[in-house]
């Protein structure tokens, strides 16, 4: 039980940390010229922390996504990356194609519960594959970032339920972690 609680705390802290980093970097880029932006970002941060504390965002039970479902995250990432970087369709169109095709997966067999769970995983992976070639230099990077995003997706099953942008946040956490590891190794 304590292990599950620690994992949940770690995941929520990672998401909050990611958001604080994002906002801090925006302020850092133009803090000398834009005072209103600093005040705005501070207000957003305060409301965010308030939201984390008081909004009912998580399910009480501890649960993790099945590996058979999570495996589709790196697959979605690689597919989107191939369309985006190799075929040169661009990130938006590639993500749209992969996401739309994935959303029709349940139509293959309407009785299958497994097929109903796949579109969300593939769509999460497609966000990872939207990375530019500068950020994601090879297909192996896309695969690694997709796998990490899949890990975050797995442990966040009962967290941030129904909140839009959750999949993107998991993808972003995967890409950032992969970039950090890559910069240490390279």
């Amino acid at each position: 039980m304590r292990k599950h609680k620690a994992i949940r705390f770690l995941m929520v802290a990672t998401v909050l940390f990611t958001q604080i980093t994002f906002l801090t970097m925006i302020v850092n880029a133009q803090y000398e010229t834009n005072t209103a932006l600093i005040i705005g970002v501070l207000l957003i941060l305060l409301t965010l922390v308030f939201g984390y504390k008081y909004l009912d965002l998580h399910h009480e039970d501890y649960a993790y996504e099945k590996i058979a479902v999570v495996i589709w995250v790196p697959i979605g990432s690689v597919l989107c990356y191939l369309l985006n970087a190799n075929a040169g369709l661009g990130s938006i169109l590639s993500m749209g194609i992969v996401g739309t095709l994935a959303s029709f997966a349940p139509s293959l067999n309407k009785k299958s519960n497994y097929l109903k769970e796949i579109p969300v995983s593939i769509y999460c992976g497609a966000f990872v594959g939207m990375s530019s070639v500068e950020t994601s230099p090879s297909i192996w990077f896309a695969l690694a970032a997709g796998t990490l995003a899949g890990f975050f997706f797995m442990i966040s099953k009962n967290l941030f339920l129904g909140v839009g942008g959750k999949l993107g946040t998991m993808a972003f956490a995967g890409v950032i972690t992969a970039t950090l590891i890559y910069s240490v190794i390279a």
Binding site: M95, P119, S132, T135, G165, G168
Partner: protein
């Protein structure tokens, strides 16, 4: 003018996706992906319809705010709050100055942030009197303990 068009797109992206997802019962993934595909195809086929700035940023804002519209109706019902979240997303996007450009998931993370902030704001407004009562209680306690 460009910013006004982007903000309008942000509002449209969030509300339209939510409408297609919940009212037309497409589901969150199909609604967001299908609308993004339509917008992406349009700008792929007609790259010179709008000016360079809007051609570069309008599809990104639409796709980013469509992630906001993926919110379930159990979590957020109000179209007004969705519009506020879409506006907030666009304002942050306009000011973000290439931060995390090219990082997959950055738009989703921004959408998540905008939505959570809006939901927090909505909670704050709807529980205003309760929160003010608690704050005044704390202030009274502090003053009483000091005197």
């Amino acid at each position: 003018m460009n910013n006004f068009i982007l903000i309008s797109t942000g509002i449209l992206g969030a509300t339209l996706t939510h409408f297609v997802s919940e009212q037309l019962r497409f589901g969150a993934v199909k609604a967001s992906a299908l609308l993004s595909l339509i917008v992406g195809l349009f700008f792929y086929a007609f790259p010179n319809v709008l000016n360079i700035y809007l051609t570069a940023h309008l599809p990104i804002v639409f796709v980013g705010t469509s992630f906001i519209g993926m919110v379930s109706s159990k979590t957020l019902k109000s179209y007004t709050l969705l519009a506020i979240a879409g506006t907030l997303f666009t304002v942050i996007y306009i000011h973000k100055n290439n931060v995390f450009d090219g990082y997959g998931g950055a738009l989703g993370a921004l959408a998540f942030m905008a939505l959570l902030t809006t939901m927090g704001f909505g909670f704050l407004v709807s529980n205003y009197s309760k929160i003010m009562r608690k704050i005044s209680l704390v202030i009274r306690k502090v003053f009483n303990s000091e005197s």
